[in-house]
Symmetry: D2
Subunit: 354 residues, 4 copies
């Protein structure tokens, strides 16, 4: 079974290529290796192992050809892929490199930091698309903004407004979302480095130094403490994703309502066809914006439940993040792309209505 | 990006092979073709088209080699794959067969009925696994049931009970779930046949007859009316899936608590390893039961929101079902398989505790 | 702060008087006392205490004037009111009655059984109202059913249907809800009797006999086992409540869409006024149906999470039920009442539309 | 029926007095009148009505004795209390004051601004309590921080850590929550002023001036545009509330686990008693932290759904906020108070464990 995002045909509706790459297993693995390599380099830099050895290990890791099938077997056994990955790395290295690989760190450091790198890439995409959509809506205001529109409250005609007034309710929150994103970045684009139980005790007293180095190396923020058991950053991030899709869900709902026969306040090129009614022009992308909004609104609850993350590591709560957060990100990227496409599809807005 | 169920390595933890086949795109497509073929046969049987022609069309459909890439393009355009599928079928048929293919039915009939067929397969799996797990827990009771166990309320030692008492709280609900499943089957394993606007008006007055025939043909229940805009059956089904994973989530939570050092009320063979602490035996499958329970508990809300399905077809609400229900089913199948594995992993239960 | 259901003015919109009584603290307390009295009588009937003493205790309990302020203090201390309640009962009784009061049972028996009695009352209300609404919708079909209506799919005009077709999508699920309710009653209108750790060990070997007697006495089903740590019945019940409000939410959404200017497919008497636009007739009750549907759809997730109810009693999961289930019931009762009122408000349906 | 927050006895567990006042109907009404009075003053200040008349109206409003029963009747009729409130105000004023009362504004301006004032009060409470809890946890670290503790991952003993390490996972996020609160205030403590359809068209071209004046008058931020149909601020606020309870839910879960017999890593004074087992000391407040976390995690989804707020005002989506947000705030306030109490109850932490 494929989820909708990589379904052979439903993917035509739901998939976003750029976000698909950012959240792909290949990229996740590359980020895990980036962490391991940076960790090895840091081991050398602080003198836990010789620099030359550290560099050798890092080089090996960076170019390592991972056996994915073995990773899967390991995940089935251990609940996560890192023990198998580390075993592969060590088996592929000269024996004396073993203590320059992964020594003192732990699976969660690898996976959470890899996630932070993914989120960093995602945030660049979000920022670009939020601005592009802001521009697209701005162009709609330029073109159609002065057209009259019936303001509707409680689904009833209220008072005449303009098209610009309606679009402003789609556009204004984008500015707030950009502000939220900027404020949030240090709380999510950040290194996780804690070691086995989160206190860096096996890092030879050099944990803080290593953290700064690895964060610099990877282009991440370096928090004061490891966040392995404090998941508020990710839950908050899921919230931002859902705020974005919520705004676009309102846009989609409004457009579907404007497109109704008898209302006729918008004209869209390229609506979807029906197998039974070839005359129809369905506003499928507007509907999709609503779908994605309600999907994310549903998921955000799950991420908030993961905050009850017991002790130093909750496998139960952590794995729930893996199930939910990537899908929310893909839904958000798709929603932004769809909204921008919808802007381009609009050929008329406003006009006489009752 | 892959969801966890078909992720190259996380799939080792989350994937269920049997359910993966049941919910696979290939099987979905096969069910869609089964519906289309049965529909063609029914057109012949009620005399809308000649029987020979209907059979010819049905035969063509049943063996049709679908162009998946084209289906994806069509889904991107129309919001669902059926218009493209029907176009392929007609293009692949002799021109005079066109009116024996899909005529009078609509995309939703095809997709909802295909879903009903998937659910029917899934229900057989659920039933088998619920009974197997019932047996597995029964065997645990036979083996360990008389062992003493400290009953715990509010996470505090309360009064001594037996292992059988604890296991009964995992096993008893399985019987209720089987009863629920039996009661629910007619409400989900049922044909959808409505045509363009749900009233079968383009079926030449033969809609009811055709519905009975197609339902018989496909082995589905035949409801009194089409259910295209009444989604309570599916929301209820999602509820049952989540009730099952909820029961198993309690089992998993209990086992993880019993396995704690200092409590030591259970011994599990084959726990997961740690990349930093090779001595550990992590109860990863017990944790996974909790994860899957909370995943489904989160998702069930989304399915209930889809019930606000406006008018004769809500693209927005319908597509949300596509995003959520298959994942819930996969999570449930995996949870049952995991619970059964956990039963087999248990080598000791109960014993002296404080 | 008041919730909306008993808010001094918002209650005008949200409150349901009949359900308010059923779920009132007074009624809850009365049910708790009913359980305690029945328990005392059962202690006598099985010979654990003398019958005369048991009857005396039961009589005292049934007529007991509870000190609510003390109950609140006790709840703050113990997390639930029963220890304080039992202390009051014993303090108010002759010393020799003490062992005929509550002896061998526990707080959860009292509270869960009281809840089962509340649910039984609620189910009578649900059944009555579902049938009344079925009748109300049937009358609408009689009056307006043959009127033409534009069938709408994806918010676009599709094919002409009739008003009866549209109403059928509101009415048909009510029959399924009644069937679900009947099937579910034995799984929720049932005695809870487990004692301290759920195994009835302090009931002198008479637990099963006592359970049958108390269940008979209270008019409840007697399950094979106590259900203190198996919460699937309640989660499923919450699901049914949400299925009902979901169906009515669709009805409300449809009506709000039909009432739009430019669509004009329904006329409602008694719409709500606006402080700024006295000319408006807002379909506030139709909107309320949508609100209540989405409220319950949200809450149902919380109830499913409570199924991860660890060991013999989870205070954390149990208290979450207290926060959620009563509100869902009140929302459902209100939704049914509102839907019936809406039926009465409709003065025209269907007619020429585009 | 009472919700748990004002339930006669459950309130002993769930109610928070200070938050109860902030979210009380009386305070809501006072805020609504504050807005109306400020609006009247602003009408005078910009010259729409004479200053003396405006002041007279404002004075009347500020001291007005509202008929609550009539407000309830009005809410039942109009879906909200403002039309009835305005009618009362006008009926209680000299006839010539009518155009100095509410003229040009609308119900949503009144209610959303009143909510913003409530949130402002709430934020002061949140800030105070977050800091107090930060202090309480700091004191625990001072007292017990150097004690050894077994670090536990996946509920299994991992590596020895210290009590300070564990507490840091409860304390550190509080600093982030304070930062989030500060960043969020301008997005929620803000005036809503839009008039009938949100474009201030009936404010005689003085809308922007009036907005600045009223915001200053009420001590609120003045956003660039009305936010009547952009609900991301409130959804985000609900998210913050749930992040806070999520952090404290983790703290509660950890404490309940530490308090287990066989683990014995914490000693709490004042645990709850049991009606059947007087020897027990139940960690009911720790459990309550988990309950409140999962309650808010559930509710946050509902608030995100309200973002699909169609057109210029969605009665359906708006009323859902009324049902959910106040409860989340009360749960959060209670959670913070409980966490602080728990800090005071702790008499020992850490110590030898396995």
């Amino acid at each position: 079974m494929s989820g909708v995002f990589d379904h052979p045909w439903l993917g035509g509706l739901f998939a976003d290529d750029a976000a698909g790459v950012i959240w792909s297993p290949e990229r996740q693995l590359a980020h895990m290796l980036s962490f391991e390599a940076a960790y090895s380099r840091a081991l050398g830099a602080v003198g836990v192992v010789e620099t030359a050895k550290a560099d050798k290990a890092a080089k090996l890791i960076a170019g390592f050809d991972v056996d994915i099938a073995n990773l899967r077997v390991g995940t089935a056994r251990d609940g996560l892929p890192v023990p198998a990955l580390v075993a592969q790395l060590r088996a592929g290295a000269a024996p004396d490199l073993s203590d320059a690989i992964h020594k003192g760190t732990t699976s969660q450091d690898v996976m959470d930091t890899a996630l932070a790198l993914t989120i960093k890439d995602m945030n660049a995409l979000l920022s670009t698309r939020l601005k592009a959509l802001d521009g697209g809506l701005g162009r709609l205001i330029e073109t159609f903004g002065t057209q009259p529109l019936m303001g509707r409250t409680r689904m009833q005609a209220a008072m005449p407004i303009t098209v610009a007034d309606r679009i402003a309710t789609w556009q204004t929150p984008l500015h707030d979302h950009l502000a939220r994103l900027a404020q949030m970045r240090p709380r999510v684009e950040r290194l996780q480095l804690g070691g086995a139980a989160g206190d860096r005790q096996e890092m030879a007293g050099k944990g803080a130094d290593m953290a700064r180095m690895i964060a610099d190396d990877l282009g991440l923020y370096c928090p004061d403490r490891p966040w392995h058991a404090m998941r508020d950053g990710l839950a908050d991030y899921g919230g931002l994703l859902s705020l974005i899709t919520g705004t676009l869900g309102k846009m989609g709902q409004d457009i579907a309502l404007m497109a109704q026969q008898g209302v006729g306040e918008i004209t869209l090129a390229g609506g979807g066809g029906s197998s039974a009614m070839p005359h129809k022009q369905n506003p499928i992308l507007a509907e999709l914006l609503v779908t994605l909004a309600r999907f994310n609104a549903t998921q955000v609850a799950g991420l908030h439940h993961t905050m009850v993350h017991e002790q130093e590591r909750s496998g139960a709560a952590w794995a729930l993040e893996w199930m939910i957060l990537p899908q929310m990100a893909l839904a958000t990227a798709r929603s932004l792309a769809v909204a921008l496409t919808v802007c381009d599809q609009i050929t008329a807005m406003g006009g006489p209505s009752q």
